[in-house]
Amino acid sequence: MTMKPRLAVHKFSSCDGCQLALLNLGEALLTLDGLVDTVHFAEAGPVNPEAQVDIAFVEGSINTREDVERIRRVRANSDFLVTIGACATAGGLQALRNLADGAGWLADVYARPGYIDSLDEARAIRDHVKVDLELWGCPVNRRQVVEALRALLFGVLPVEEKEKVCMECKRRQAVCVLVTRGEPCLGPVTRGGCGALCPRFGRDCYGCYGPSEAANTDALGRRFAGLGLVPADIARRFHGINSQVEPFLTGGSQWVAGDDRST
């Protein structure tokens, strides 16, 4: 009998919503139990945070010194490390504090290596250790997690979803809320994977899946200005759930008062 691949689910600073992609699987949760040996998944029960595993799912951002030590151990103990969700992949909503700390955040916060170990910032997993696969979304959904897991169990890399929410809108024949209603929709710069959820609900996408491929945030920001949004509002559009990742970071920062590119 061959051994089942070993799986761990680790949590850092987060709302727990991405782990629910597994806990909400229903019957498939029991199927999963037949496919992998879940050695660490605190919310579901098994606790063995230092176990060697084949696949580690990581939720949440790095906020404390102990988090830093812990993620390094997780990395050392895991063959394949997958971040699940916006907090782990991009810092999440709590990383907005990175923008608020200090007066000179605009120019220097992003690339300063000395901040990496700071307790004052929320950081993505990739800022601390090598990540093998990133699943975007706030939250990730069941399909994304199961697809990734299935692919990895077959020994292949999952196909990365990078195209824009706009493409999902078209395929699902949703009416464009930006063109028809002038809503400040982030769909043109946001990665798909959600199924164009917000436009299909008649509202603007707020970018919870992070930046798409070839995201032109400059042009979209100017379009928002044309819709009547004031610069501070445009900045806040881009500085939401995935504020720390480019081009959302610059796409928003250039509209913050005092930056000459906003004129």
Binding site: S13, T38, P46, Q94, G240
Partner: protein, 434 residues
């Protein structure tokens, strides 16, 4: 001779009240010398992020406080902001929101009963292990959890961080086909909910009677969920606006999550507190099913919380069917909102208990200040009080493993947003001879 056990129970990962926590227990001469449930929450600073944001951004942001109860955060927020702006979205929106909330109660309670709490009472470490011995019961639980998720997704697009709710109503309301489909699903789960209530009442729950003060909303016409006055078992009866005059949050040195007190004393929020105060408001069918369990409510046994949760699942199923019997109007899905400066209060019943919000806005509806008091913060002092009483009643002479399991069971029973982390409890027992 001094008989000192030094017990350190560490919780390195806490959910929602994220971060690091520990239970520090010192037993000396067969008495608890000190007991502290410690929570170290790396601050996520939600109240700060909200400042300067437009009112319309609030529902999407506050949802992210908790992946398991985002609806509750959205509902307290929209209520506070609508009251602030003097907007009443109408009876049909109120009904749709109640349905939305029913979904979350069903989902959250089912998850807690099956994945977090029941394994304690049946001697398993996880639901996966439990499923090998109780496959039908676990599948029933997963079906109910899925039902809750489906109801949330009906109105929110997805069950975690739903996108449908807004100040003034919903971005979109379901059509006839969607309504008929969900009605069939709810109907199919009615028997599951009934059976679950009976099953939880039959679990070997510890008999652990304690005196505690219950706090919950109360409403003249219905079992409280979306609105009501704040009542306590000691006679408190106030509007949400008056919360701060009676309740205070205070910092304790061993926790970065604030504690809350009612006139400085611990109190209980959540399903048992709600049921103890509002049993008379349950629909007859639910009340009869509850009476048939043979457990009398109000109950002073904290471990009856799991039965209260199951009763609320049945209630939410019955309530969802009542709402959909003659579905509320699908239009208008939202009403226009004219922002104004002021202060607004919102208070609803999250699955884990009272969730209180206060917002101050400027004339454009931008948030100037926000304050949010979540249920787990309110229950923290009560949890410490319970741990002390429960462990003393259990017997402090017991071995470390037994004490640890009892402590874990007590903590999980509150369904704190640290539920997942309490599985982390590690007990280091040191016996020191003088």
């Amino acid at each position: 001779m001094t008989d000192q056990h030094e017990l350190r129970i560490r919780v390195p990962v806490l959910a929602r009240v994220e971060g690091e926590g520990a239970l520090d227990l010192t037993i000396r001469d067969r008495a608890i010398e000190s007991l502290q449930l410690r929570i170290y929450e790396p601050p996520r600073l939600f109240e700060k992020f909200l400042e300067e944001r437009g009112y319309h951004e609030v529902p999407d942001m506050v949802a992210r406080i908790c992946g398991i109860c985002p609806v509750a955060y959205q509902m307290s927020a929209v209520q506070a902001l609508e009251r602030l702006f003097g907007v009443d979205p109408g009876a049909h929106i109120r009904a749709w929101r109640r349905l939305f909330y029913c979904g979350e109660w069903i989902q959250s309670h089912s998850l807690h009963i099956h994945l977090l709490a029941a394994p304690d009472f049946l001697g398993f470490d996880s639901v996966m292990e439990m499923a090998k011995t109780y496959p039908a019961e676990v599948r029933r639980g997963l079906r109910l959890q899925a039902l809750g998720n489906d109801i949330i997704a009906l109105l929110g697009g997805r069950s975690v961080h739903p996108v449908g709710a807004c100040v003034g109503g919903f971005h979109k309301l379901p059509d006839k086909n969607e309504i008929n489909k969900i009605k069939a699903t709810i109907n199919a789960c009615y028997d599951d909910a009934l059976a679950l209530l009976e099953w939880t009442a039959g679990l070997a729950l510890p008999d652990d009677r304690q005196a505690f003060c219950c706090v919950a909303l109360q409403h003249a016409d219905e079992y409280p969920m979306n609105e009501g006055r704040i009542r306590s078992s000691a006679g408190l009866d106030i509007a949400a606006e008056a919360y701060e005059q009676h309740f205070e949050e205070f910092q304790v040195p061993h926790s970065t999550a604030l504690h809350a007190g009612l006139y400085g004393q611990p109190y209980l929020v959540g399903p048992l507190a709600r049921l103890n105060l509002n049993r008379q408001s349950l629909p007859p069918a639910v009340r009869q099913a509850l009476d048939a369990t043979g457990i009398a409510f109000p109950s002073d046994n904290m471990f009856h919380s799991i039965v209260a949760r199951a009763a609320e699942i049945l209630f939410a199923v019955v309530e969802a069917l009542r709402i959909l019997e003659d579905p509320p109007d699908p239009v208008p899905s939202r009403v226009e909102v004219s922002p104004r400066a002021g202060t607004g209060f919102g208070c609803t019943e999250a699955p884990r208990g009272l969730l209180w919000h206060r917002y101050e806005t400027d004339g454009q509806g931008r948030i100037r200040r926000a304050r949010i008091v979540p249920p787990t913060s309110q229950n923290q002092a009560r949890m410490e009080q319970d741990l002390k009483a429960s462990l003393e009643g259990f017997g402090l002479q017991r071995d470390a493993a037994a004490l640890r399991l009892r402590a874990e069971t007590v903590i999980r029973n509150y369904d704190p947003c640290i539920s997942c982390a309490t599985h982390f409890l590690r007990l280091n027992l040191q016996r020191r001879e003088p």
